[in-house]
Amino acid sequence: MNTPPFLLAAAALFWATQTGQWLVAAVVAVLMEGPRYRTWRWSLEESDFMRIADFCTVLLVGLALYFYFTFGNPRAITLLFQWLPVALAPIALAVAWSTSREIGLAVLFWSLRRAPMRRRYAFNPGVTLFVLWLLGASAANHPGWSFEIGLVLLTGWALWVSRPRSHPRAVWILSLLMVASLGYAGHIGLHGLQQWLEGAAPEWIAGGGSRTNPYRSNTDIGSMGDIKLTEGIVMRITADPGWRVPILLHRASYDDYRSGTWVAKSPRFESISPFEVATRWKLSNAAIDPGRPGSQLSVNDYSAGGNPVLSLPIGVARIDSLAASDVQANSLGAVQAEHKPGYFSYSVLLGADGAASAVTDLAYSVPGATDLKVPAGEAAAITSIADELQLAGLQPAEALAVIRKFFAERFQYSLWQGKPAGGATPLAEFLLTTRAGHCEYFASATTLLLRAAGVPARYATGFSVQELASPGDGYVVRERHAHAWVRAWVDGAWRDVDTTPPDWFAAESARTPFWSKLTDVWSWLRFWIAQHSADTGTLLGWLAIPMGLWIAWRIQSARRSLVQMPSDKAVNSVAHIGSDSEFYRVAQRLLELGYARHDAESLQEWLQRIAVLPGAPGLDQAELEAMVRLHYRYRFDPLGLPEPDRLRLQERSRDWLARHPVVVRNQKAV
């Protein structure tokens, strides 16, 4: 299958409308259509195409690594598809500028080079490139109608040119219109379906782990068996020496508990304007003292889907060096940045008091009625414990101390839960019977007990920073360091209260698999390259140039022959060395004289046969054989024919032709 004229150039330009890469597309488009205006071609062989394909593979792998390290998945995949047509264009260009119209599958597949298929499959890479331009354009995710229109027009063009002509044109046009309408309806439906799914099951779509949903937190309270979290590193933290571990990095708080799920009842996000510079965002009016130890830390984070929720310690006053187009916060302390998928970083400065003050904090609201609510389903167990601890009438600080002591002395950390006895809720089972659980149990129970004691409290989620990075500086935060704790309103400010037994971190670390070190090194490598992505991109670009030159040199040195094409339409014919040999005229004269040549008969065999035919006087076999030997040398000898021999061939042929004028006679042999 061949592509119609200018279709590939149009597809490249369409790709540019979506990606904005006009220069790249224009160069490829001109090179793709250039052969229509030039008559010379490269005489390339399969091995040359293999070299070009290898170059494209290296280019593609380089791009894939660059995108992966810089942006991570899934952004790297979409970017790779976006640049796939450019990376593979050299193969299609080589075919367009060569005497070949097709390449074998072995050019693309290494396995077929070693073990070829018994039947050679060949294809024109132009058609594949056309499809890749469209897929690449779609990966740019350009909003608006232009993609849909371009897709229909370009595909319609390709199909129109190759359509069977016996079908009425009107039927064809009506069919395409119907297809375009169906396609449009289909993609609107698909998009709607995805949005509905995201709305109906936000946690499922959002995924667990390091992604945070500021509206809802589905806990594992009530789940049986082991809780498993992965080792993957999600953040790297650099903190000044004044910080004491564990550092609790808050992502979101929730104020309403509904049987295993914490929900944010007032989740409305509001934009925060940049403060002084475009990358600085003020979250609190508290005074800042950058020189105070333990007041600054830097976060290097990664967002797979974009628009991440930031990880912030309590009492944060300002965020610096955050290259986001917008930052929004809700009243429960969740701060979300508008940022593309991939790596991002920011610095955090704490207020002078180190707590979330009601007066100064802009992003964390003062307590409300919800912060004192104990759900009816848990009220019995909570009241029972509150009575046992005599929490009623205690000051908030005293109540807090009693509850801390209660959990520290009578509870254990456990990642395993057995089957509940029946009747009681999982939280009640935890408080009254098992007295063992993971952080979500401790945080939920503490929140509700504090509320029962009249202390406003919220359930907070985020990460606990404790592990020093190795390799690298600062701390690493793994997915399994995800943590839940309580924010309690004590003495006019929100304070972090963590009642989970401190040995939880050691218990988690004990489950670290032996290959964790290897994955850590890989993670650090990704992080390092991402930090230096701009340099890596430039390096890749500079590496591609000598590689391309090397390929060009290999092809040039392997085959220094440019073939002059007789016309644009007759690209199949290939000029042969020695095609101007005078012996062809001798052969032609023999044919004219009636000495037919068999289909598979070589010149030499033909001459030997006809020389002994009866009725062939005047054909001197020795003379003809001498001429044909000279002719063969002229045609096939890699060293060529020396000038004297060349002249001898010319003279003998001329002489023979003069002695054998055309006389029409019957065919001598069949």
């Binding site: 018994r118 499809v131 779609s138 229909v152 069977p164 016996s166 069919s175 998009h191």
Partner: protein, 438 residues
Amino acid sequence: MWRLSWLMFRSLSGAWIRMNRRFTTAGLIAISAMVIAAALGVDTTQTLAYQIFTFVAALLAVSLVAAVMMRPRFAVERALPKTITAGQSFDYRVRVKNLGGKAMDGLTLLEITTDPRPSFAQFRTRLRVPNYGGWWRLMNANEMAHIDQGAAGMLDANGETEVRMRGLAWRRGVLRLQAVTVARADPFGLVRALVTLPSPATLVVLPRRYQVAPLALGGHRLYQHGGVTLATSVGDSEEFIGLRDYRPGDPLQRIHWKSFARAGKPVVREYQDEFFERHALVLDTFAGAQAKLSRQSRADELAFEEAVSVAASFACTIDTQECLLDLLFVGAESYCFTAGRGQLTTANLVEVLAGVQKCTDKSFDHLANAVISRGSALSGCLLILIEWDEAREDFVMKLRSRGVLLMVLLVSAKEHASLPAWLRVLHPGKIQEGLVGL
């Protein structure tokens, strides 16, 4: 497990074969693009590939409906060659007539041959573990030939055209053509409407042959009991040379009664004993029980095929103008086919070789006895073996002791510790080089 795998592979291969028939090249590209777009566009907020997916899906759906609605009518007639040769391309013509009242283009001709998918018994006995690679190799082994799709140009209403079909025969045997499918592409040229016209035919695929220099087998002329015409028959009959007058002592059964009546005196038929050279081309077909598919079994099968090719090459080369050539081998029973001097032609012998199968249920003695029983009439013997062992060595010695001139060739990839100097070894894949040295 085996049955489930077989069903799964069979369904997969069947779907692939049906897809290749139902969709044009453009259609297959569209399906590939749709699948990639589906994977890339799974999150509709990340890329617009889902728009490609829905558009191409709609395109294929409309094309499918259009193809189902088309009801073209055709008649076809093949003009096949008599035989074709394994490993070589061949072509033939198919005459297509449009029986409908409308002109058509975008027509393609597809041949339906025997289903190459392995049967369950073959799948179970030939593979060690069920795997798709093995299934694919068995399918390749079963496929006799590949026949390209033939493109027909514009066909007028009630018009006729001739389509040239090209193919490549993979192995010797009988290629059974079952039907011709005439396919017409839908308006977009993606999906085809198929009209299958049963048209059973067979093509004999001859073994591939090598160039062999003219061979002088040597030996001397021997009395051939029964004359030329009955050289391969039984009974007391010599070559008839004419009539002559009765001489005392002539047996009464030789009196030619019609001539006796015409001439009025006894006339007898005169016979002459025939003396001429007679050579045997003996092919060893004893390959042992069928083995599981492996590198070794493939090498053994290749060696056997090469042995058949060598036999075919010699059958074509030996001049049967002045001698008889017996082709001897054992299949379901012992076979002997004779070429030359009014018997079969060498072309017939090659056709016989096209159908030779391995013998797995008999011992080499069957062949040895068949040859030795003819030993007294043989001047020379060309023995093509696929294995070298004691039984074969004994057989060669026996023939030698009877004064039969021998040329023994062993076609094998195996390394044998010690071989007699007179045994010529031909290595599969390098047969031509080996034959040049003979």
